[in-house]
Amino acid sequence: MTLLAGDGPLHVQLAIEPSCYSRLVNKWYCTDYLRDRHSDLTSALVQHLQLTAWALLLGVVIAFPLALLARRLPSLQGLILGTSTMIYTIPSLALFPFLVPFTGISMETVVIGLGLYALTILVRSMLAGLLGVPAEVRESAIGLGYGRTRLLFRIELPLALPVIMAGLRVATVSTVALTTVGTLVSYGGLGNLIRDGVQNDFKAEILAASVLCVVLAVVLDAIIVGLQWLATPWTHRRRAA
């Protein structure tokens, strides 16, 4: 009896041709999946973006004062770069568990972990950018009566921007990729879909989430390049004229 009942829907399903993501077909590339599970992908993508954005923001907010400090006090430079490199060495899957006793199974765990990785890249690039400002430029600005704050924001940061932005691009692209590991604490954005796909042998889900991840990284990278272009008009004004 149950066998017959179970048989019925299956025949019906076969008659109307199963969708390419049904267990019987399980294709890697499946537009039906993209259409039907549209909302899953969107919400995972939104979470992915949130995690990435918060982590990068946290990284920038901590890295900037650290870079300034490292520049002012060269004796601290080794300590700051050494400590951040040490954190960077720890695999992401091993970093999140250390944070859990403090932050629990929450979004903060992933944001702090990823922020620490971004921090390492950002401190290095900010420091390199600031140290790369020619001494003559700095001296002329001081000679013109620039105070320390105005010197930093009007002269040094704009000149250091290309190097800092290069670091931000690296940090952004690797943060997008790393966010997937956050699925360990259930906040992995697209990584949650990838894990679900592996557990249920759901190929369309794995591929769609993976491709979306790479696309997100490329798009964010392009946005930063665009912003940098807009923020540093002096690098391309001459060619345009």
Binding site: T89, L93, A94, P97, R124, L178, V198, I206, S210, C213
Partner: protein
């Protein structure tokens, strides 16, 4: 806080280190995976990079390989390899469940740092040094083995170091897709809400990562030809390549 104390208890209990699911077995397995993958990536990456670097060709590959490696999540590649019919999750000798899939992913992600550093290292040996070598009558291959390679060695080893750290991190993630290694203890700890176990395993993974990093940093210093002579940094241009990929 209590979790941290319990994690310490987990680490100091001898029984947790023994057996097939014990820390020792998984640690050895993960080290084996990491060094095998590194060896594969070295053979492939160094051969191509040193050859192309010596000839000074294929600049575009150097830039793009790193960018692609960075944008593709290690977790996604692992997931795809494991879900394919081959290699899938099949047992693979001492490398355990999904061993082959993990090895392939590890080797692929070790390639960008190895390749990029080696290529740049050979490419950037300063022109006057190369010219004097040729002027002294060295052939192309003599110049490569006696001049370019020794001068490039520190940067090459620096690439290996980045790759090793990367490989170790990726090998940990393999557990997220039911692969081998110490990551299994971490994921088990989380999925079965046995956090002390997860934290204990994370501690072991982190300590080994730091040992590998420091060990390879010492190796890097040891092979630096500029350290043996004068303290001044003469010789080839020393541009540090930060082409690491994170996992």
């Amino acid at each position: 806080m209590r979790n941290l104390g319990d994690a310490w208890d987990y680490l100091t209990t001898a029984a947790n280190w023994q057996g097939d699911e014990g820390i020792w077995h998984l640690l050895v397995q993960q080290l084996l995976l990491s060094f095998t993958a590194l060896a594969i990536a070295m053979v492939i990456g160094l051969t191509i990079a040193l050859w192309l670097g010596h000839l000074g060709r294929a600049e575009f590959l150097t830039v793009n390989l790193t960018n692609v490696g960075r944008a593709v999540p290690t977790f996604a590649l692992l997931a795809i390899l494991v879900s394919l019919d081959h290699p899938g999750t099949a047992e693979f000798g001492p490398y355990g469940r999904a061993g082959l899939a993990t090895l392939i992913a590890l080797a692929l992600f070790a390639l960008p740092p190895i390749y990029t550093n080696a290529y740049v290292a050979v490419r950037e040996v300063s022109a006057p040094i190369k010219e004097s070598a040729t002027g002294m009558g060295m052939t192309g291959s003599q110049r490569f083995w006696r001049v370019e390679l020794p001068l490039a060695l520190p940067l090459i080893v620096s690439g290996l170091r980045l790759a090793l750290v990367q490989v170790w991190a990726t090998a940990t993630i393999a557990a997220l897709v039911a692969g081998p290694g110490l990551g299994n203890l971490i994921t088990q700890g989380f999925y079965r809400t046995d956090y002390p176990k997860g934290i204990a395993a994370a501690f072991v993974v982190a300590v080994v990562a730091l040992i590998l990093e420091v060990g390879s940093a010492l190796l890097e210093r040891a092979v630096d030809p500029n350290r043996k002579g004068t303290a001044t940094r003469s010789g080839p241009t020393r541009r540090r390549v930060t082409s690491g990929v994170r996992a």
